[in-house]
Amino acid sequence: MSQASTEIVRISGHAGSVAGVGLNREFAVCKLVDTTTCIGCKACEVACLEWNGYTFTQTSFDNSYQTMPETAWNYWNLIKFNEHERADGSTMLLMRKDQCMHCADPGCLAACPADGAIVQYANGIIDFQEANCIGCGYCMTGCPFNIPKFSPTARKVFKCTLCNDRVSQGLEPACIKACPTGCLHFGTKSEMKELAETRATQLREVSGFADAGVYDPEGVGGTHVIYVLHDAKNPELYGGLPKDPHVPWSVRLWKGPLKWLGNVAMVGGVVGMALHYMRFGPKKEEPIPPAELAGEVPKNETRV
């Protein structure tokens, strides 16, 4: 938004047209990950850790390049290595940089109960404000991409910020800065979309990947991280990238109709009870008929 203060709307005592009026500056940022030119060097992982001040954690070895199984609360950026056998029997290594997708319609934000713990900026960045996070983990339920991760020590949830601290200062995210092949790009959403489509067309028409395409899923309103895939028809091949991601319907139901139903029922119940009391009044004990009390308590035979 800092650009807005350089954008002139009116100038006093100025004859003629005003420079820049009518210019449409796009705020929406986007990271483009071209999986077809990624070499799996993990430079983006290192840059992410360095910039965000995290140290390397224990790795694992399971006879693949995958030395971390998935992103963690202190490991926000991870290349997913997938060995894919093609129809002709040859093997292809599909590498996808996994991180927060920065959805336009974020499920984490929809599910979060804590005031100000998740913020969506006008440029599309979704950022967690850990000071406001209560550690309930609802964001983990709302996210269709398995991104927010809980830190048992901090008891708060963390994820990729799209380097909001860098972007707000006019810098590109750390992962972009570190990428040696140029498979990572950063710019406005429309620029990146155009570049991605150009590359996908090239892949289809020149490189023989007939199903190449851009991953910018509509189900979450589009994302501010988009992919170029060799096979856009099967995004699941790229380490579980969902084909049609959307905020879980149970989260929608819970935060929508159920909330209104519940609120109306609770308020209605209290009002109903007040009306009941005003209409029928209290239940009072009644004196026991003297005949029953006279002399002695009732005999066992009088029990009902």
């Binding site: 339920t141 149970s250 989260v251 029922a265 609770m266 119940g269 029928f280 005999k299």
Partner: protein, 228 residues
């Protein structure tokens, strides 16, 4: 508690006044009730804070969001323990009988405070029994779904549907228990005079027992009578 225990506590058993006291709840039953009540109120305050942004301020009055998040599950366990103790004590008294079903058919009379038209009932009426079993089975569901929400991060991604189910079950069952809770508080604190005091002092008057729980009243009084 057993009926014999109640009858041992019948105060001033030779008097025939309406205001004679009968023990309705033992000391242990009352303490357990208030452990359950206060833990439920805490769960209600913190739960409503998580439920709606317009009620998030409720978390502030019990120490803030992160503390509410940390304590809510533990207090939930305390409430469960209190309820399960109640279950072991009152299971028999809460069994639903044919008399209850007859009483249930006359529930419009009960709602309109025409209690003299109702069939006599034992220690607890059908409404109280439905309340008890509603809370009992509700808490089992809340416990299971709450466990999932407590340790959401330990659930593998492939089992995420369990999270989706838990979040719906926990909120909708909690709403159902809130409905039961509101009715319970209204009836015992506001509507039925003498009920609230009985859960503090343990006593009801003989006339109260005769009016609202006649079968139980005869049970207590009849047995307290020296054998002839």
């Amino acid at each position: 508690m057993t009926t014999d225990a109640i009858s041992r506590n019948v105060a001033d058993r030779n008097s025939d006044h309406n205001e004679d006291k009968i023990v309705r709840y033992t000391f242990v039953e009352r303490v357990n009730h208030w452990i359950g009540a206060f833990s439920y109120i805490y769960l209600l305050i913190t739960g409503l804070a998580f439920w709606s942004p317009y009620l998030y301020w409720l978390a502030a009055i019990v120490g803030g969001g992160p503390i509410a998040r940390s304590w809510h599950p533990w207090v939930g366990l305390l409430f469960t323990a209190s309820l399960f103790y109640t279950f072991t004590e009152w299971r028999g008294d809460m069994a639903i009988t044919d008399a209850d079903r007859a009483w249930g058919k006359a529930i419009p009379d009960y709602i309109q405070n025409e209690d003299d038209k109702l069939p006599p009932v034992g220690r607890f009426n059908f409404g109280q029994k439905l309340f008890f079993w509603g809370i009992f089975y509700g808490v089992i569901l809340l416990l299971l779904s709450g466990g999932v929400l407590w340790y959401t991060e330990t659930l593998p991604w492939s089992l995420r549907f369990v999270r989706y189910a838990a979040i719906l079950i926990h909120s909708s069952v909690a709403l159902a228990t809130i409905g039961l809770f509101l009715i319970h508080v209204y009836m015992s604190v506001v509507l039925e005079e003498g009920s609230f005091a009985s859960m503090i002092t343990g006593y009801v008057t003989r006339a109260w027992a005769w009016t609202f729980h006649r079968t139980w009243y005869y049970d207590v009084i009849g047995r307290s009578k020296p054998k002839q």
